[in-house]
C-alpha cells in the first residue's frame, strides 16, 4: 500500500507540467506582459533592434533566422566544446568575429541585444540542447545543493514549496523562460544570471564570480527543467 502511494506520488510530481511564473502573477501584471504597448521590456527590445542594425549584426544574420535561437540556449559551443548561454554567444560573435571590444555582460547594450534576439523566439517551446547532459547534471547538483548561512538549496523553495508564500510573495517554480525580463523590483531589464545571483545572495551565500561556468550549468538545468514551456521574452515579473 505504501509502495502504491509512493508510486502515485511520484507519478503526480513527475507528471505535473512545469508552470511558468506568468501563471502565478496577478492579472494586472499578466496584462502588462501580454500588451506590447504596456510591457516595459519592449522598450529594451526596441533598443536591441536599433543596436542590431547599428552594430552590423544584420550583415551576417537575418532577423528571421534568430527565431528559435533563444529557445535552444544554453548550447554547446562547437569550437571550445563548452556550454555557453545566449549572452556568451553574442559576446563571442562580437569579439571573435567582428573584432569589436567586449561589452560588459550585464550592461544595457548587451541586455538589449539579448532581449531583441530572445524576443524573436517568443511563443516557441524551450528545446534544451541534448549535448549538454554533463552541464545539466552539474546544474541539477547545484540546484539541489544546500548553500549559504540559511543552508537552503534552490530545490527547497522552487520544487518543494513552489506556490506557497515567502513573506508576501508567491514562490514561483523558478522557470527561466522569459529572460532577459523586466522585473518591477529591479525597475529595469535583467539577465538570468542576475536573478541567480540575487537568489544565491538571498540565502546568504557567496555568488559565483561573474561569468562562472556554474551559472551556465544552472541555466542548462533550468532549461531542461522548464521543458515544454514557451519563451516569453521579454517577460514581466514582480
Amino acid at each position: 500500500m505504501r509502495q502504491l502511494a509512493a508510486a502515485a506520488l511520484a507519478a503526480l510530481t513527475l507528471g505535473a507540467a512545469p508552470r511558468s511564473g506568468f501563471e502565478t502573477m496577478t492579472p494586472e501584471l499578466q496584462a502588462m506582459q501580454r500588451d506590447d504597448l504596456a510591457n516595459p521590456g519592449m522598450l529594451y527590445v526596441a533598443d536591441g533592434e536599433a543596436l542590431w542594425a547599428q552594430e552590423g549584426c544584420g550583415s551576417c544574420h537575418a532577423v528571421a533566422a534568430m527565431r528559435g535561437v533563444a529557445a535552444r540556449y544554453p548550447a554547446l559551443d562547437a569550437a571550445s566544446q563548452t556550454p555557453i548561454d545566449l549572452t556568451d554567444r553574442i559576446a563571442q560573435c562580437r569579439e571573435a568575429r567582428q573584432g569589436k571590444p567586449a561589452l560588459p555582460p550585464e550592461a544595457a547594450p548587451m541586455l538589449a541585444l539579448a532581449a531583441f534576439v530572445a524576443h524573436q523566439s517568443r511563443g516557441m517551446p524551450l528545446q534544451p540542447d541534448a549535448q549538454l547532459e554533463g552541464a545539466r547534471r552539474q546544474g541539477e547538483a547545484l540546484f539541489r545543493e544546500r548553500r549559504g548561512q540559511l543552508n537552503l538549496s534552490c530545490a527547497q523553495c522552487h520544487d518543494d514549496n513552489a506556490g506557497r508564500k515567502l513573506a508576501g510573495s508567491t514562490i514561483p517554480e523558478g522557470h527561466a523562460n522569459g529572460y532577459p525580463l523586466y522585473r518591477l523590483e529591479w525597475q529595469g531589464l535583467g539577465s538570468l544570471q542576475r536573478r541567480l545571483r540575487n537568489c544565491i545572495a538571498g540565502v546568504r551565500s557567496e555568488p559565483y564570480p561573474p561569468g562562472a561556468p556554474e551559472y551556465v550549468a544552472l541555466e542548462a538545468y533550468l532549461a531542461a527543467r522548464a521543458r515544454g514551456l514557451v519563451v516569453e521574452s521579454p517577460a514581466v515579473r514582480p
Binding site: D36, L37, A38, P40, M42, L43, D47, L184, Q187, G188
Partner: protein
C-alpha cells in the same frame, strides 16, 4: 531620445471616449539612493507630462520621486474632431521630449 510606447487608436467615431496609453523609458532616479561608490545619486526624474490635442491641454500630470522607472500613464479623452495629439515629457537635467500622433474622426 528616450523610447516611448504610445497606444492611440488610428480612427475613432465622433464623440467617442478613447483611452490613450503612454510609456516612456526613463530611470526616474529618486535622488535618495546611493550608488556603488556610496555617493548619493542625483535626482533625475520626469517632472511633468502634458498632452495637447490641437494645442489644447487635455491631460497634465506632475510626477514625483516615488514614481517607478519607465512611467506608464493612461487617460481617456473625448474626441469631437480630427487632430494632432502632442505628448510632452519634461524633467530634470533639461529632459524634454515630444511625440505626436494623429487622431482621425471617421
Amino acid at each position: 531620445m528616450a523610447r516611448t510606447l504610445l497606444r492611440v487608436p488610428a480612427t475613432v467615431t465622433r464623440g467617442e471616449v478613447v483611452e490613450i496609453r503612454t510609456l516612456i523609458q526613463h530611470p526616474m532616479e529618486t535622488g535618495f539612493r546611493s550608488g556603488e561608490n556610496g555617493r548619493m545619486l542625483s535626482r533625475d526624474i520626469i517632472r511633468r507630462f502634458t498632452c495637447l490635442y490641437n494645442n489644447r491641454p487635455v491631460f497634465e500630470a506632475e510626477l514625483h520621486p516615488a514614481i517607478a522607472a519607465n512611467p506608464y500613464l493612461t487617460f481617456t479623452l473625448r474626441v469631437d474632431e480630427s487632430g494632432i495629439l502632442a505628448f510632452t515629457w519634461e524633467g530634470d537635467n533639461g529632459f524634454s521630449q515630444t511625440e505626436t500622433r494623429t487622431l482621425t474622426v471617421a
